[in-house]
Amino acid sequence: MKVAFFPGCMVDMFYPEIGIAAVNVLERLGCSVEMPEEQVCCGQGLLNSGYAKETIPVAKNILDAYDLDQYETIVSLTGSCMNAIINDYPTVLDDVEYLHKVERIRPRMFEFTDFIVNQLHTTDVGASFHHKVTYHKSCHVTRFLGIEEAPLQLLKAVEGLEYIEMVHAERCCGFGGTFSFKEPEISAEIVKEKCETIIETGADVVCGADVPCLMNIKGALARLRTQGAVDRDIRVMHIAQILDARE
């Protein structure tokens, strides 16, 4: 199956290894993965900061990048960006042609874990990962896209993986895009609490399906480790990396 890939700009900028892991998994499941080079970012950082007009060219760039006559399936690696495209774009776009494009994209765009479980009808992707893992139920994947079961089904099917649920797994990590820069003290407090709930599980890996949250959690856990507030290294991984693992 040919799929168009939408990694989210943070994968492209900061974490190419997450994108590579996802491509490996998808290819193993029989997909060929393509990505139009014109696509950059969904623009939600602008929109959520109130810059709706500035979001429009960014949104149009994304909508133009994916040739819908060529691609019947688009797989998104980041829940929040996908939510921006399918749910937020209609609120900012003023152009019928582009609104129509959003309507065409919506039914063919799938979040990575949802795609594997509900489109490829697979839960065991052949990964093995002998670690204790907890999963951050990010707001956009869980609450906005309503995807709760798929990531857990995938994790639980990984050989050797011991899943431990953290308390209030669905609580926000405190990133909030520009919120983390505009109100850093509050953001830091929220992510500190998220880290505490992760540490409490005793897991040695925390994973998620939304890259921005992972960046936030990773940064906070690293700082806590330097400060000696946590006595072990806790790896922060995208679920795609676990599904690609053999360890």
């Binding site: 990694p7 491509v23 602008l46 929109l47 959520n48 810059y51 960014v58 960046m215």
Partner: protein, 495 residues
Amino acid sequence: MAILYDTEQSLRERAAKCIEDDFKHQAIQTAQETFYQKRKALVEEEPDWQGLRTTAMDIRDHVAKNLDYYVKQFAENASNHGVNVHFASTGTQALWEALDIFENHGAFKAVKSKSMMTEEIGLNHVLEEAGVEVIETDCAENILQTAGDMPSHIVVPALHHTRDDIAELYRKKCGYDGDNVPEHITHFLREMLRPEFLSAQVGIRGCNLAVAETGSVTLVTNEGNGRMVDTYPPVQVVFVGIDRIVPTLESLDIFMALLPKSAVGSKMTAYFSVDTGARRDGELDGPAEVHYIIMDNGRHKLLDTEFEPMMRCVRCGACLNICPVYRHISGHGYGSIYPGPMGIVLTPELVGYGDANAKAMTFACTLCGACSEHCPVRIPIHDLVRDHRIEIVDTGKNNKVEVPIFKAMQAMWSSSPLYMALMRLGRPVMNILTRGGSSLDERSAWIPVLGSWTSSRDFDVIAPYRFRTWLAEHNAARAEECKREDGGQDQKGGA
């Protein structure tokens, strides 16, 4: 302006104080957890919670769309039951109406049950200036009044006080000589307040929901003080917001199924009063004279705008109880009597973006959407928070310093070649800043903008290569491989 009560400090300064206040911090977290668990259990046992929410939303939207009709119906039916109805389009008008009533009766003492509308217009202060003694009879409000403190929650306003400091407060200010056992403190309050109920000439109260078909006002309380306020004093003044109306007693039932569960995680409250009109001939209790002050105070501005769904709000506080930001900065961090998610939406509507604090509130939100999910009347709260941000930019009230940054983002994110060029430029800069490492640590806290992040957590920098470059090479290699395999097969076929 009584909605925003702290004009001296910025939101950031207030938030920092709340975060540092370990006790307040812990109190809010414990309260949120209790409300969360209690509410969750009740919602799970409700056969059609989502259906109830939708019905409630539809009813409230219907009223908002036909507000003139329902305000008129409510007022007429109240009049028919002997209520003196006053209309106030502003808070100041409402205050004048209230002062007139006190003056006409020569009243100098009032007992009061908790009311957000009176907080909103600063009624206590004005009455006290006019020589009226106003006694808050709700336990939490009495604590705040005695302490000279501000509410930190719309439903449980003294959430940030402990039994120890409450006992100490009453020892110092009111001659209490007991311990910190809540029952002992409330017993003391009960004895202290009883003579006030009996001697007050006027009872002042708010109204949770108003019923148009009967002209009734309701009170949902747990302490019984509300019922004392609305039955003992001979004159009663009820403050009713125009956004409190439900059409019928039957529809009121829907809201009573949602409100206590959403507010405090209880099936119902200890007291629920539906009051219709003044005392009739032959009745033994109730006020002889009832006044409704029906207030707009900026609410009509929400109608026919994207903010109209806020007219559904039943002031249950469910959004505060689930909010990750409220959890850490409490109501005091926002500096508005309407804090938390609902406060972020409502406050700027009532006071305007001209106020720096109201504007700052709209950014104290991660847009996580937990509030919208918990709202019993389905207000898309987080969407409305973002709508405020959009309107702030659209009306030119944004911080001009940030504009070039967002314009640069717009340019970079809408052009792949420009994005790639900037990535090539950015990488060596990041290398210098990280001293060759992969992330920025606390030593980078001096960097403008980025420093606000790195002062509390590490920041991973731009990777040495782009994912898109890898994928292009990967797919090219795969294509090459396929070609070779095909070629090999061709050769085999030829052989």
